[in-house]
Amino acid sequence: MTPANEIELAEAIASAPGPLRIVGGDTRRIGHAVEGTTLSTAGMTGITLYEPGALTMVAKAGTPLAEIEAALAAENQRLPFEPTDMRGIYGATGQSTIGGVVATNNSGPRRIQAGGCRDSLIGVRFVDGQGNVLKNGGRVMKNVTGYDLVKLMSGSYGTLGVLTEVSFKVLPAPEASATVVVEGLSDPEAVAVLSAALGSPYDVNAAAHVPATGQTAVRVEGLEGSVAYRAGELVKKLGGAVADFDWTSVRDLKDFASREEDIWRFSVKPSDGPKLGSALRDAGAIDVMYDWGGGLVWALTPKGSDMRPAMGAIGGNATLIRGSGAAVFHTEPAAIQFLNEGLRMKFDPRNILNTGRMG
């Protein structure tokens, strides 16, 4: 089913006799496989409202991400959270949709400074599991009217409702960008450098370490003079030099995506990153990579291996991004699970929306 609008979508859900598999562009295949009739949001497209002077964009959930990014670029603006292109990881060929970005709360390197998808998202419209059309938030960037279901919907993987429209706070695209690259650091040294950069007054907006190339990179963006100044100060502080660096490679995990093995993603306290990286290697990881100042650890691991135990006592969470040898999502404490399940039963009492995807 590919409803053309929200009303059709609501009818489709209300009258669905059984489970539904919700897809946008089917390019972010995180989660357990879902049985059911495919319900696509790809028929609901278009930018509904774009006010560059108010830094606001509203779009239908099925709008291709590429269309959104092009419209923003035409006004010299962009999405703050630098969403990743996951097609390489899954060998997908479709068009990523903005609804899919939201449903997976997807954010790239700039998340460390500008916040994640959930932070830029200011409004949603969605249809719950009984076919009720609902909205929360709106199109203004400060809004505390009622509960923040916007954040709840972001990263709920289509299990609480099917998004029909999303609103974002956007940001000006920078006039200039520069990356300071330091070579040859060990993982602990690298994360210490990233911490020093992120703890400086220089407004670093990406901080990654790629052990495979031995590169540790921090990025600054903004007005030309400001970027030159801050990059210069960072070189003084950290060593290294301003150099070309392909951030899309970090963002899209290109080096791991092109291989066959499993991919894990860990979100931890940045200073725990190197400890986790070492534990992952000990547990058989082929390679690791650090983003978000060390707090986002990616691991390329042999097929079918469960890497979660490598976390030991390290706090945070692990997600199996590609592979099938373990639970995809991190098991949460019983009390949190109880609340999650309670919410799920309220939003989708028939349990038909992406059933089992997050389970």
Partner: protein
């Protein structure tokens, strides 16, 4: 303002409830004397007052859990309270309720500069969070005007903003984790020093839930290194439209100032009389502040001045010293106080799309004439968060009611043009009955469902946020 009928059956059991609470708290942490509980009869929305049945001041997460467990068993409503600075009546008690004040929970638990966070108990004041890290030049970004007094617990409950959130975001964007006690007395850890949830974003849901889903006792907050410097520029225009257009052009030009504040003539005049900041007598005044090194500040201000000049300002004044900067901010910071010198006021908090600014300001002027009450506007222009201050005389019969009506008209207007009822103060009791203008019954129902999950007996701050009629059947259970 209507409050639910107090449950006399609960009040009749007061001495038993006090005894149970005294068994889990130090003697002085249970306040039940009728005179003493009056200290908790209102928050900063002081037009509405009601002493609680009793108040408790727990000093640890364990004590909070014990209190909530007892109140849950006894079926007693609990109203959490930070520092009582809510402008929306978020901490207003009912006469059958227990005020749970978190003021004794004020410790810093951990500071971590490498990972850029601080963990504090939730009763700690906003400004003292920054105070705990500024020796190393770090700060906590959200800066509500009440930051000297307001507690982090209240900031989280209301998802508070401040003057600098155009650049740094509001509370929810700077909150990494909480320890929260549910109404049943269960202690939950949500989030932590890492980013993003493993499953549903409960942290995002809790932030801004106005103390209705749980009582936050500890919080992990993001801290940032201070910028090297900051400098404001003051720009005066002879029309609100032009000032609005200037704001829009600055944003479109790709500059993101840390703050863009807007004041209209009534507020400018009031602050001049009050503190004499040297503001020009113009229709609209903007304070635009940028941050960075000296070079960076100059680079940004050059652009901003260029844009401002295109709109023919009556006055354009760039600060040349720390003293001048302080002066430029002095009037803005004193604005609420200055308006309070003139009369009692009600401060609204609607947010509108920036493009609607001229229209909304024009309509507010018309409403002011219609209702015969003066209004001053002072607000965060970069994000459209308006703060109309409606002046009224609390001693004049009927004036408060007229003011409430006018306030409702303004907020409805905010919603009509695509905005919302409240940008950073919260709904509380103040805007509870207006929720239906922004949300459909179904939109509200799904939020009530969320509360059902966290607090099935509807005991936590139950008379807030939603129209009483919509919650009645749940509250009597």
């Amino acid at each position: 303002m209507e409050l639910p009928e107090p449950n006399s059956e609960i009040i009749a059991r007061k001495s038993d409830i006090v005894a149970r609470l005294q068994a889990v708290l130090p003697m002085d942490a249970v306040i039940y004397d009728e005179q003493e509980v009056k200290a908790y009869e209102c928050d900063a929305l002081s037009a509405y007052r009601c002493p609680p049945m009793l108040a408790v001041l727990p000093a640890s997460t364990g004590e909070v859990a014990a209190v909530l467990k007892i109140c849950h068993e006894e079926g007693v409503p609990v109203v959490p309270r930070g520092s009582g600075t809510s402008l929306a009546g978020g901490a207003l008690p009912t006469s059958d309720s227990v005020i749970l004040g978190v003021g004794k929970l004020s410790k810093v638990l951990e500071t971590n500069y490498d990972d850029r966070y601080i963990r504090v108990q939730s009763g700690r004041t906003n400004l003292s969070v920054t105070g705990a890290v500024e020796a190393l030049d770090f700060f906590y970004a959200p800066d509500p005007s009440s930051q000297l007094a307001c507690a982090i617990a209240g900031n989280i409950a209301m998802n508070s903003g401040g003057a600098h959130c155009l650049k740094y975001g509001v509370t929810t964007n700077n909150l990494l984790g909480v320890t929260m006690v549910t109404m049943q007395g269960e202690v939950l850890e949500i989030g932590g020093a890492h980013l993003d949830a493993a499953g549903y974003d409960l942290l995002g849901l809790v932030c801004g839930s106005e103390g209705q889903l749980g009582v936050v006792t500890e919080a992990t907050l993001r801290i940032l290194h201070k910028p090297e410097g900051a400098r404001p520029v003051l720009i005066g225009y002879d029309s609100n439209e032009v000032a609005g257009a200037c704001v829009s052009d600055i944003i479109k030009a790709g500059i993101l100032p840390v703050a863009i504040e807007f004041m209209d003539r009534p507020v400018i005049r009031a602050t001049e009389n009050f503190v004499g900041a040297g503001y020009p007598d113009v229709e609209a005044l903007l304070i635009v502040e940028v941050e960075g090194s000296e070079t960076e500040i100059n680079e940004q201000l050059t652009l901003i001045k260029e844009i401002a000049n295109r709109h023919n300002p009556v006055e354009l004044r760039e600060s040349q010293s720390a003293e001048e900067s302080a002066n430029i901010w002095a009037g803005r910071k004193a604005a609420f106080g200055a308006m309070g010198q003139i009369n009692d006021y009600m401060c609204l908090d609607g947010t509108i799309p920036v493009s609607q600014l001229p229209l909304v300001l024009r309509r507010i002027t018309e409403l002011s004439e219609e209702y015969g009450l003066a209004v001053g506007n002072v607000f965060h222009a970069g994000d459209g968060n308006m703060h109309p201050l409606i002046l009224y005389d609390a001693n004049k019969p009927g004036d408060l009611e007229t003011c409430e009506k006018m306030g409702a008209d303004i907020l409805n207007l905010c919603v009509e043009v695509g905005g919302c009822l409240t940008g950073e103060h919260g709904v509380g009791i103040e805007k509870r009955d207006l929720m239906t203008t922004q949300y459909t019954d179904a939109d509200i129902e799904v939020q009530l469902d969320v509360k059902d999950v966290f607090d099935p007996k509807w005991l936590l701050n139950p008379a807030k946020v939603f129209p009483l009629a919509s919650t009645e059947s749940r509250r009597v259970v």
